[in-house]
Every structure is written in structure tokens, then in C-alpha cells.
């Protein structure tokens, strides 16, 4: 059978040609400017953090180094004499909260958003409004509103994991935005119609065609959600739950060493950084494996 001659079109290579157009000198100047901006902003962000780390390592006499503050948080036992240090259990709780919140958010939002895009377009405005609403409500108002509800919840379960109800609501706007951006870049309707004409049912369309094309958006949503859970203090504190932030706060208050305050803050930051780095690294790997 007659195979066709290849069509005379080549996939474009965008970067090379554009760079050649700019003269070398201009490019160098542009680069210098780039580095300058990067340095200035880098310092702006890094200096306070470095200072905080330095203070956490301050010895008893000014200008000396010591790890006392760090060993104090690690060995902090609070009111209990033995058992798992509260810091460790609060880390555990916070991680579990992050996982639960992420799972609920994704299971809730991804199918709903795809369904709205595919079948009930007219709902999308309302849905967006609902999802963005928590952004406009101050935490304290939320807590006041949630107080009675949590009274009820605490009758059933005292676990700090019950915080996930609020966290899902808090994370809604961020996760929604991330997912909406991912969906917006896809021609969902055409993909779905193509899949259906090939014999896919609606569930197959969502699971095998749409979702695999929005992994990046899902991972972004997960990143934002877990960042929020890891850093949440106000609501947990006001609802009298001990998550990581609350625990760090109480350690720094209950230890007569100023360095502990800085050490706990640094620890909290480092913890969140490390987790987010891991998550975004996972996301990058996925993307690359796809070419």
C-alpha cells in the first residue's frame, strides 16, 4: 500500500533562533540584571531566615554557639513524664492531617470539576464562587462559626485529625485555582468526545483520559494544600487542638530559653520546606518521565 511522503512540516525549535537575534552584549547585560535581581530578592528572603537560624544556635553568652535550644525542643516532654514526646506526636498528627486533607480535596474536587466542565457548564460560575469563598472569610470568623460544630464533633471523636474538615474548606480556593488552571489548558470537551466515540464510558473518560493530562495541576493542588496544613496555627490553636505549629508554640512558651523560640520556628520552616521539596520533586519526575 502506498505510504505517503512525509508532510513538509517540521516541529519547531523555538529557543535557538530567538537567542541568536539578540546581540551578545545585550544578552550579557540582561544576564547581569537577572543575577542582580535574583541576589537582591534572595537576600531579602534569606537574611531573616538565616538570622533566625543563627539566633536558635545562640549560646548563653552573646556571640557564642550552642545547640541547647535544639536539644531542648527534641527532648521536651511537656507535662507528661514519659512516653512519646509531644513534638513527635504532633508531627505525626500534622502529617496525617496533610494526607487526609489532600486526599479529600482531590477526591472531592477533581471529579466534580471535570464533571462540571463536561456536563453542567452553567454551574461553573457558582461553583467557582463557592470554592473561592473561604478566601474572603477571616480565620477568626471561621472559628466562631465552627465552634458549635466542633462541639458536636468532639462528642464523637476527640482526635486532632478531625481538623481536616476545616482544612478542606481552607484549602478549597487554592486547590480549586490550581486545578482550574490545569483544566483550562485542556480541550476537555473534544478529548471526551473523542474518547466516547472510541467506546469509553464517562468514568473511563475521566479516569483514563482527563485525569492523566492534569497530573501537574493535581500535584500543584496537593502542594498548596499540604503547605497550608503544615503551616496552619490559628484555627488549631483556637479550637484547642495540638498540631505541629501549636506544639512548637507551646514548647517555646514553656521553655525558659529565648533560643527555643527561634529553634522551633526554624524547625517548623525546615520541616515544611523539606516536605514541599519532596512533593514538587515527585511532580517534576512524573512530568519528565513523560517526555
Amino acid at each position: 500500500m502506498a505510504a505517503l511522503a512525509p508532510v513538509g512540516e517540521v516541529v519547531r525549535e523555538p529557543s535557538a533562533r530567538r537567542a541568536a537575534g539578540v546581540s551578545a552584549r545585550r544578552r550579557r547585560r540582561l544576564n547581569a540584571f537577572r543575577y542582580l535581581v535574583f541576589t537582591v530578592f534572595g537576600l531579602f528572603f534569606a537574611l531573616p531566615l538565616l538570622a533566625m537560624a543563627r539566633f536558635s544556635l545562640e549560646g548563653a553568652k552573646l556571640g557564642t554557639w550552642s545547640v541547647t535550644a535544639w536539644s531542648q525542643i527534641a527532648s521536651y516532654q511537656g507535662t507528661q513524664a514519659v512516653g512519646i514526646p509531644p513534638l513527635i506526636s504532633s508531627i505525626e498528627i500534622t502529617l496525617e492531617l496533610a494526607v487526609i486533607t489532600c486526599a479529600v480535596i482531590v477526591l472531592l474536587l477533581v471529579p466534580t470539576m471535570i464533571w462540571i466542565r463536561l456536563r453542567v457548564r452553567w454551574l461553573s460560575r457558582t461553583f467557582e464562587f463557592l470554592c473561592l469563598l473561604p478566601l474572603t472569610i477571616p480565620a477568626i470568623v471561621l472559628v466562631v462559626g465552627l465552634g458549635p460544630i466542633y462541639n458536636r464533633i468532639q462528642r464523637v471523636s476527640l482526635s486532632a485529625l478531625m481538623l481536616f474538615w476545616v482544612y478542606v474548606i481552607l484549602a478549597l480556593p487554592y486547590a480549586y485555582r490550581a486545578l482550574a488552571a490545569g483544566l483550562g489548558g485542556l480541550d476537555v470537551t473534544t478529548l471526551a468526545e473523542a474518547a466516547r466515540s472510541l467506546g469509553a464510558r464517562w468514568l473511563t473518560v475521566i479516569v483514563r483520559v482527563i485525569v492523566p493530562n492534569m497530573w501537574q495541576a493535581i500535584i500543584n493542588a496537593l502542594l498548596l494544600t499540604s503547605a497550608l496544613v503544615l503551616g496552619e496555627f490559628t484555627i488549631a490553636y483556637l479550637l484547642l487542638y495540638n498540631n505541629l505549629q501549636v506544639e512548637l508554640y507551646s514548647i517555646s512558651r514553656n521553655t525558659p530559653n529565648a533560643g527555643v523560640l527561634f529553634a522551633t520556628s526554624t524547625a517548623a520552616l525546615a520541616f515544611a520546606f523539606a516536605l514541599l521539596l519532596i512533593l514538587s520533586y515527585v511532580g517534576r519526575r512524573r512530568r519528565r518521565s513523560r517526555g
Binding site: M1, A2, A3, L4, A5, P6, V7, G8, E9, V10, V11, L186, D187, T190, L191, E193, A194, A195, R196, S197, L198, G199, A200, R201, T204, V209, P212, N213, R290, G291
Partner: protein, 371 residues
């Protein structure tokens, strides 16, 4: 019938099916997209639906594919009523105007997707995908991702993907409209070759009349949700059923004249009418540009068929000459060699070949509204 058409019929005897749409209607709010459409595709036949924008071509195709529900009417494929069968169980291959390959799958995976849904064994699936890619001339690109292909290549893969499931019917919705002219013509012929080879009943939607006339066994001209004419490309062109078809397919001059007794008199020429039952009275005769010929100079008294050339459009082998007749202008299409004898500004005398013509009564049916 053309030799192509007969080979289509040979293929048809193998496995092709008949598709019948009766009284299909569909409205969107106030807009009547389809108005009691009747259309039958013979087994193995390629029918092109042609018509101005918004006439309901896409709607017809989507109803047939099950992507949209009909308000009324019935669709049968091979005698089976499928009006209420969901799209996923209709067994129709579809190629879309927009690029529709799954971005996260390679070309091979795209082509094999429909077979995977049908739980075809991996070995069979792979072999079939390779076969299909060979059919569209893309076996080299099997492991690329869609974003690494050109537009034309993507549409070929889409065609391979649609054909891989061995559908009963192939549906194409302006699959070429995003491509440039050269790739378009090439892929158009390619689609026709593959369609004949596979022998599948095909509905091809386009708003490009050249495309429709070039590849179809029969062309259906649509207007406002109804089928104006369904006939072979030559018939649609030379024996249009209505004035609308005459004006939409190819170019027509509209010349004022008078009908009497099956003949229309236009500027002193008597032209026979296609439709002998046309009522007597004033009418607009639709005259093809190729029925008009030119001669240099003119007799002493300027008659109704003399005028001045005002423009000459070079089209390659033929050229189009615009002549100002004083009260109107007329287009003539001539071999380029003849046309160059009449540069702009020269005086010419026209002759109208007495081919049967159609008349548009009172400006009804002005084609190309919005097209």
C-alpha cells in the same frame, strides 16, 4: 459513475453498512439547527455534506455519532435503530476538526486506545495499531507524543485511531480545515484512498466545495437545517436542483431576464430552463462563468451584450474576466491563453452558451449568506 465509485461498491459488498436518517430535528433554544432531515448513505459510500456556516452540518454528524440527542427523528445503521444508543456504544469512528489526540499517550497508544477499551489482547492490539499507522503512512512516528507531530500528522493519527476500532461508519467533521492548502489537498486524497481501501460508509462534513466535489461519491448541499440536494458531484454542479445550490456550488452570474414558455430571455439571448415548469414573468437567471465567452471589438451599435473589461483574475490554467455591461457586471471564465487577449479596458462582445439554466425568483435563495 466514476471508477472510484465502482470500487467503493465492491468494497461495500464485504462489510459496509447502510446508514439511514429520517426526520431528524434538533433545535437549540430558538435556533432550528436541523429541520426534519432525511439522509441515507449507501453501504461503502462517501457522502460529503456541504453548506454555509451554521446550516447544521456539524449537528447532523454529532447526532449520528450520538454526541447530541435528536429532538425527533430516527437513525438506523444496517437496519438497527440506534437513535437512543449512547455514543460509546455506537461503533462509529470520528475525526474532529480540533486536534483531539490524547496528549499523554504516544501515537501508538492513541491508536490502540479504542482496542484497549474493547479488551483486545495486547499482541493483537499492537499489530493492529501498526497496521493502521502504516495505512496513514506514519509507522515511523509510532512512539512520538502528539505534541511532537505536525497538524497534518496529528489528523492522520486521528484517522488511524478512528479506523482502528473497525467502526461501521466513519465520521469526519472538517478534519482538514486547520491545515494549510497543500497538506489539505494531499490529506484529502489520502482520506479518499483509505476510505476506498477500507470500504467504510463515510460522512464527511466540509464547507469547502472543492473538497466536497473532489472526494465524494455524493454531495449533500444543506441550507438552514435541511438538505437541498443530494447528488453526484457532477450533478450538483451542472444540474443543481435549486437556485441556492447553483449559487453555493461554483460561481454564478445573476442576470435579469424574462421567463416565458420554458425559456428565459436574458439580454437578447434565449436560454432553456432546467425546470420547465417555472412560471412566466421576470426572474434572475443564474449563468455559470464558463458559459460566457468573449470576442474582441463590437458592432457599431452597442448591444446588450457588449461591455468593457474591468478586471482579469489569473487562476492558473484558467482566468476570470470581469466585464462591465453598463447596468451590471458579468464574470466569464476562460482559458488563460484566451483571456490575455482581453486586457482591462478593452471592449468586448459576449456570447452566452445556451446551457440549461436555473432562475432565482425575486432574489430568493441568495447563496453564501454568512458563508
Amino acid at each position: 459513475m466514476s471508477p472510484q465509485a465502482t470500487s467503493a461498491q465492491e468494497a461495500a459488498t464485504r462489510n459496509a453498512v447502510e446508514v439511514q436518517m429520517t426526520g431528524l430535528s434538533r433545535r437549540y433554544g430558538q435556533v432550528v439547527a436541523l429541520d426534519r432531515l432525511d439522509l441515507t448513505l449507501q453501504p461503502g459510500e462517501l457522502v460529503a455534506l456541504l453548506g454555509p456556516s451554521g446550516c447544521g452540518k456539524t449537528t447532523t454528524l454529532r447526532l449520528l455519532a450520538g454526541l447530541e440527542d435528536a429532538d425527533a427523528g430516527q437513525i438506523t445503521v444496517a437496519g438497527r435503530d440506534i437513535t437512543h444508543v449512547p455514543a460509546s456504544r455506537r461503533d462509529m469512528g470520528m475525526v474532529f476538526q480540533a486536534y483531539s489526540l490524547f496528549p499523554h499517550m504516544t501515537v501508538r497508544q492513541n491508536v490502540a486506545f479504542g482496542l484497549r477499551l474493547r479488551r483486545v489482547a495486547a499482541a493483537v492490539r499492537d499489530r493492529r495499531a501498526v497496521e493502521m499507522l502504516e495505512l496513514v503512512g506514519l509507522s515511523e512516528q509510532a512512539d512520538r507524543y502528539p505534541h511532537q507531530l505536525s497538524g497534518g500528522q496529528q489528523q492522520r493519527v486521528a484517522l488511524a485511531r478512528a479506523l482502528a476500532i473497525e467502526p461501521q461508519v466513519l465520521l469526519l467533521d472538517e478534519p482538514l480545515s486547520a491545515l494549510d492548502a497543500k497538506v489539505r489537498a494531499q490529506l484529502r486524497d489520502e482520506i479518499r484512498r483509505i476510505q476506498l481501501e477500507v470500504g467504510i460508509t463515510t460522512l464527511f462534513v466540509t464547507h469547502d466545495q472543492e473538497e466536497a466535489l473532489a472526494i465524494a461519491d455524493r454531495v449533500g448541499v444543506m441550507r438552514d437545517g435541511r438538505l437541498e440536494q443530494l447528488a453526484s458531484p457532477t450533478d450538483v454542479y451542472s444540474r443543481p436542483a435549486t437556485a441556492f445550490v447553483a449559487e453555493f456550488v461554483g460561481l454564478s452570474n445573476r442576470l435579469a431576464g424574462t421567463v416565458s414558455g420554458g425559456v428565459v430571455t436574458v439580454r437578447g439571448c434565449d436560454l432553456p430552463l432546467m425546470d420547465r415548469s417555472t412560471p412566466d414573468g421576470p426572474a434572475m437567471a443564474l449563468v455559470r462563468p464558463e458559459a460566457v465567452t468573449l470576442a474582441s471589438g463590437y458592432p457599431a451599435d452597442a448591444g446588450p451584450l457588449t461591455g468593457t473589461v474591468i478586471a482579469l483574475t489569473f487562476l492558473g490554467a484558467t482566468s476570470r474576466v470581469t466585464v462591465d455591461l453598463g447596468d451590471t457586471t458579468i464574470l466569464a471564465q476562460l482559458a488563460t491563453a484566451d483571456a490575455t487577449a482581453h486586457p482591462a479596458g478593452s471592449r468586448v462582445t459576449l456570447t452566452i452558451r445556451p446551457d440549461p439554466v436555473l432562475v432565482a425568483v425575486d432574489g430568493a435563495a441568495s447563496a453564501g449568506e454568512g458563508a
